[in-house]
Amino acid sequence: MKDFLIRLVWRIFSGLIMVLAVASLTFFLVRMMPGDPVSAQYNQLIMQGMTPVQAENQVRVMYGFIPDEPLGEQFVHYIWSMLHFDFGQSISYEGIGVSHIILNAAPWTLILVFTGLVASFLIGVLAGVMAAIKRSSPFGTSLTVSGSLLHGIPQFVMGLLLAYLFTTLWPILPFGAPYDSSIDPGFNWPFISSLISHAVLPVVTYALSSYGGWLLTMKSSVITVLGDDFILASEIRGLKSSTRVGYIAHNAILPLFTLFTLSIGFMFGGSVFIENIFDYPGLGNLLVKAIDARDYPLMSGTFLLITIAVIVANIITDFLYSVVDPRIRR
């Protein structure tokens, strides 16, 4: 238990160092970009008729540091305000805090990508086991081919195709926007059911276009495990086939477990194409808009969120892995 706590503290500490490193890197990247957006902004404000003091204050509010200061001091200011959870203010959404914008966008991405991720993982793992066990039959082969094929279709093509099929050809599902705008958002059934029916298409698009990856990984993992001595041993000891499938599945899913938890981290990057097609105001859309508008505070805020999410997911994976695989326990 003491070992566990020491490990936990150490991992959290090293995670924080990593976040800091990435934040610093983002800071210097923004500063070194051609055209220097900070001084460009400053100059633009002066040209708009602001006094240098006003412009300086404005830029300080936006970026969290003053462009005229030496780089070192700017950096200290930036890190200092970051430590106070102040990520500056957006340029394109004038005067609104970056953290506020991100917090508003995050739930949409989570609903969409998380559901899609879980759905594609479940479909992929089950189909992968089937494809591995029945790999010499036409059924197994067609499963594998379906996975690779759908995996190869770009998400936006899949999304547009599904949208055409189910909103135009057979208009059974709503299209665009995360919920019906005539319904008041709140914790009531009409709103929730509207949320769900609007989410069906994007989630299905996500699941269909990404289960192939899980399928192929699971299939090869299962085939590797099938060749292990203990599987033959369990057969010759006369274990029930349900027990044997359990043995196989547990051993085969371990490599996918890591991939899955890391995907949950990367999920915070949003899914640009799907959010765009189905008009979800999620993180992917936000990032695209920020890049479009050269909204640097918003960009670095979003990048920082992705960084933190991946690092946290990494730490959680590390600890959960020792739960699912006794060989990792110490």
Binding site: F230, A233, R237, G238
Partner: protein, 343 residues
């Protein structure tokens, strides 16, 4: 008169034949390879008398492991059993039972200790859990009793039973895993045990200790054991009967003492001569000449041992010898039995 008395003697012998735990007939196993089918086991008949230890000796790749996998009907791809029957306890043909009936016999009536017994456990489950899995698969009602018996066996095998049951595979040493493998073969009280090179990975001392325990258990529970090995010393020490395997066929069989003291087949002689003695000149041990048979060996019509045989004649290249009786309970497949091999 003479004829009548020999017939009578044969009749009596027939009557005293021990009951067979396993009686396999005409087993043929082939491996499909890109160069064609390679016969791994050809027309093998083998009997395991109840309550006896039978040694199966052969060099690597001779098909001895394939034979016992075939007896269990567990030959793995690309291998395939082409024909044969395996009569269990003079009753059912194992190869003709439904897969569910076969599953129930595996483990419950026939225990199996693997060549790679060190890797025969699920790495993600504790040994105790896996014993319970085994018990549940075979509808054992008294699981508490099963665990108790497992502990008893482990203790006899010289292990700390409680520790082992609470351990994962990676927490046990190779020798410990091997013994756990033996426990798994015995825990459901199977009467027939196959040991497939089960002690090969152990050092000499551990091997001797484990074999001693196997001998004890065999006597105590009157087990029928088939001991597959390439170590002629192990087999000589333990088994009552011996089967010499070469290129997928049995070339000599009989009582161990008889076969080893008076070998009939040049291959058996070669095997015995290849054993270095503890006392005396190390060079007196003579390795077998030539190399193991390959797929070309099988394509010619003559004796499979022809290429390596010191007493071959041209006739040996024409046709293949069959197992023939050369004495009481002693069969050899060689045209040149008794010929001097030093010419």
């Amino acid at each position: 008169m003479a004829n009548v008395s020999t017939a009578h003697a044969e009749y009596q012998q027939e009557n005293h034949k021990p009951e067979m735990a396993i009686s396999a007939r005409n087993i043929n196993v082939v491996y499909a390879t890109p160069t064609g089918k390679i016969p791994a086991v050809r027309n093998v008949n083998i009997d395991l008398p109840k309550g006896s230890i039978t040694g199966i000796i052969g060099e690597s790749g001779s098909g001895k492991s394939t034979l016992i996998m075939a007896i269990m009907n567990a030959v793995t791809k690309p291998g395939k059993i082409e024909s044969g029957s395996v009569i269990l306890n003079s009753k059912n043909d194992l190869l003709k039972l439904s897969s569910e009936q076969q599953r129930k016999i595996r483990g419950k009536e026939i225990g199996f200790v693997f060549q790679a017994a060190q890797n025969s456990l699920n790495p993600l489950r504790r040994v105790g859990q896996q014993i319970l899995d085994l018990g549940r698969s075979h509808d054992v009602k008294d699981l508490r009793g099963l665990i108790k018996y497992a502990k008893e066996l482990l203790a006899r095998l010289g292990l700390d039973a409680d520790r082992v049951l609470a351990s994962y595979q990676h927490e046990l040493s190779g020798g410990m895993r091997q013994r756990v493998g033996i426990m798994f073969a015995l825990v459901l009280k199977a009467n027939i045990i196959f040991l497939d090179e089960s002690t090969t990975a152990l050092d000499m001392l551990s091997q001797a200790a484990v074999l001693e325990i196997i001998r004890e258990l065999q006597k105590e529970k009157n087990l029928t054991i088939a001991l597959v090995s390439h170590d002629i010393g192990v087999v000589a020490d333990l088994s009552e009967r011996i089967e010499i395997f070469y290129a997928g066929e049995i070339v000599e069989e009989g009582k161990t003492s008889k076969v080893l003291s008076d070998p009939g087949h040049p291959y058996t002689k070669g095997l015995i001569q290849a054993i270095p003695r503890i006392s005396g000149d190390i060079d007196a041990a003579e390795p077998l000449k030539g190399s193991s048979p390959d797929f070309k060996t099988y394509q010619q019509p003559g004796c499979l041992f022809y290429d390596r045989c010191p007493i071959r004649t041209d006739a040996c290249r024409e046709s293949r010898p069959e197992l023939e009786s050369i004495g009481k309970d002693h069969k050899v497949s060689c045209f040149r039995v008794g010929a001097d091999d030093r010419n």
